[in-house]
Symmetry: C2
DNA sequence: CGTTTTGCTTGATTCATGTCAAAAAATCGC
DNA sequence: GCGATTTTTTGACATGAATCAAGCAAAACG
């Protein structure tokens, strides 16, 4: 069993200054004084059990959240269609940016495993941003980065094959784990095949089959939800390959 | 021939106060004094010819742009793959939000027809936002709205059939035209079938065929790039239908 | 004003991926 | 620890949409 985030983030480490996510979190770049003001507006870590909802679609928008440990998924339910998973969130990532300026939350956010989140009431964050240009900049940058991620996702969904989508997905997670100081080559998938399928626009059976094929080709090994990357370069090559759908090049 | 935006927006109307897009544009909600400060940082309308690039992928990010007339597309070129269209921009819409905090522009933005854009140098906009809370809020709201749009797009791309994608596309444009005071039932497509296909993740032949089928079913008529919606309700029903891909409901 | 280019439509065929079904494995609850 | 539930794998089959290949229409160009 791999160590999980929850084990690495003792609950009592409640101050931003001491938080090990400091370097990847919203208050990045704030000086000590600013960080203390920031720290002051945070609602202290809130524990979530697997399957528990942090926000429900349609809830009144009030806060952003930073994942402190564990992982979550966002999913949106539309008009009698199957729920669609739109995001996975790892420690340090910001939840709720898509609710700003809207009355209701766009989707539901649910814990995929035991998790802690810090709550940032948006109105207080705005007040603080008025005084802290750095924080303002960070907020813009976070939103803009998310826009770029979403666009990358749109490209993935509209132009690439199932194999390429899964290669990108596996590599994307790998990169995110690496950035958090976890092994990029061997990690735990906290989401089900069905979640992955929904996120990537594939049937869950296809996810299972492709992962199996990757394993046969010795690119990765998958045992349940433990994934090990063996041929990083080959996955990159596959993900970037010119021959997607709609006659590549 | 329908009136086009360019005919409705005389070039010499250069002040924000007199701009007819006022109500849909970034400075929405600013008081007169604030509006004047905002007006002062705008680089005056810049004309673009069909096919001309406003920004090229990889350009250094410096400014946001507001479309004043005409329309544009954003497309990103990846690793030897076919270009992928990621956005269409209509008058009043904000171009470039995805470049904030990044050194380079994420994609190229090209005029689909003759167009004018107002340039907003981002550093000056940031300075101004420091003093104008309303403007700050507007910026957050614009970015957040775009996040929601991108997510809607992701849902469209990963869960819906070709017919549903095109129905949504046609209705989406209709809504955007309506919001701009143009006819929502009869409008001009400034983009090619190939652009639409790229945007929706479909082959251009499929776009052509589905549009043809819609015409046979008397939902719309399409003559070249002139589109008329006959059965709005039926299109809505189709777009929202539970039976997408991945066994609806 | 004819020629070339570009964009659009249409048909035939193929293929990747979805759907349905059932078994196997893992996880959960008591 | 054992039956019940959920998740995952695997197989057989169906099908929507891509691809390939013309042909046609409408601009753009000399």
């Amino acid at each position: 069993m791999k160590p999980e985030f929850s084990r690495r983030q003792p609950v009592n480490e409640t101050r931003c200054e001491r938080c090990s996510l400091h370097a990847r979190c919203l208050p990045l770049g704030l000086d000590l004084k600013a960080l203390e003001s920031f720290d002051a507006i945070i609602e202290r870590p809130r524990p979530l059990k697997r399957g528990e909802a942090l926000v429900r679609q349609g809830d009144h928008f009030e806060s952003l959240y930073v994942v402190r440990s564990g992982s979550l998924k966002q999913s949106v339910a539309q008009e009698g269609q199957r729920d669609q998973v739109t995001h996975f969130y790892l420690p340090g990532e910001l939840v709720g940016l898509d609710g700003i300026g809207d009355t209701a939350c766009y989707g539901s956010v649910v814990a995929l495993e035991s998790a802690f989140v810090c709550e940032l009431p948006f109105s207080r964050l705005e007040d603080l941003a008025e005084r802290l240009p750095e924080l303002r900049g960070q907020l813009y940058r976070c939103m803009s980065r998310e826009l770029r991620n979403d666009q990358r996702m749109m490209c993935l969904l509209s132009g690439r094959t199932a194999d390429q989508r899964l290669a990108s997905f596996v590599l994307g997670l790998s990169e995110r784990f690496r950035a958090r100081g976890c092994s990029p080559y061997c990690y735990h998938l906290s989401m089900s095949r069905s979640d992955i399928g929904s996120y990537l626009g594939l049937a869950l059976e296809t996810v299972s089959r492709v992962l199996g094929r990757f394993q046969d080709q010795k690119l990765v090994s998958v045992e349940g939800r433990e994934l090990t990357i063996h041929e990083h370069a080959a996955l990159v090559a596959l993900a970037e390959e010119g021959v997607g759908r709609h006659s590549g090049i």
